[in-house]
Subunit: 202 residues, 2 copies
Amino acid sequence: MANSKVAGPEIERLIQLLARLPGLGPRSARRAALQMIKKKEQLLVPLAEAMGVAVEKIGVCETCGTVDTTNPCAICTDPRRDQSMLIVVEDVADLWALERAAAVNARYHVLGGNLSPLDGIGPEDLNIDSLIERCRLGDISEVILAINATVEGQTTAHYIMDRLAGIEVNVTRLAHGVPVGGELDYLDEGTLAQALKARTQF
Amino acid sequence: MANSKVAGPEIERLIQLLARLPGLGPRSARRAALQMIKKKEQLLVPLAEAMGVAVEKIGVCETCGTVDTTNPCAICTDPRRDQSMLIVVEDVADLWALERAAAVNARYHVLGGNLSPLDGIGPEDLNIDSLIERCRLGDISEVILAINATVEGQTTAHYIMDRLAGIEVNVTRLAHGVPVGGELDYLDEGTLAQALKARTQF
Ligand SMILES: [Zn+2]
Ligand SMILES: [Zn+2]
């Protein structure tokens, strides 16, 4: 591609890396790179700094599986959170979506995906053992399965349900406000809040 | 917003900065940030490095106005480029688009925008004086006005035409392959290459 000799390999590399982000193709990555370079002081410098900070500080919480700058994370160590309630999500993006909905004041457990035999994803690839362990050891009275209403999500929910059999814990799931096949992260906050409040027995 | 207490101000700041990039809204900025954090070694670390390099090395070429890691830029110093031909563009994105089309082997002059009295953008806000100076001093025999086919673009082209009166230089413009009202950066490379080859007398 002629572009590589146009502006030095450094810019080309920046564009290629930006193009790997979700939502940015090669064309929009070029525009984003150019915007950064033009607005060097307002955009490129602070972004480079923010990413440097992220590289140094951000990691995975060993308790719940979310990402944060502390381990355990701010949510796991927050004394104002209800310690008896655990919300199980597939992904950190879902945790963020639920927090934006601000519907409950519980703690979370991030599975890191769904069971998917076709893709070779089994229970050992997800944070399921640690979930069972938290339920067994902790003072958890309710586990809310806030898992996507997809086939794989529901397979995962049933598997967790089976694994929790024999442990003294009430398992609920989100109310049927969540559209079938829909992903939590794309829902508006009002729908999410309602689905949480009207959650039903699993 | 509840999100700021979820995962520390560092992540929130990263998301806010990403949301300022063209093509990314708040939601896609969150997804992009999360993707980076999850793929720390493959994405976040190299991106942070590439941006650090960009902060240190990338600047504006004082000769032609493009961005590069050297000043003068790689194009201005390339001895294989036709020294007698200058392509005038509004923006670095247009220069990149023309280079991708790989239709001519000339040098460039980046105006940095268009004349727009309504927005208070006059000739002194663009790299027009330096263009006239290059044409007066250099061995330029042809100036190709590769300016967007918009009202403001054409106003700018006519203004440049007037300023070049009395200087021994042939002024051409892109052929009418460029759609009226269209922006160069969104055109496919074949159309751009054809428009360049069939350029007409201004
Ligand atoms: Zn945690
Ligand atoms: Zn240059």
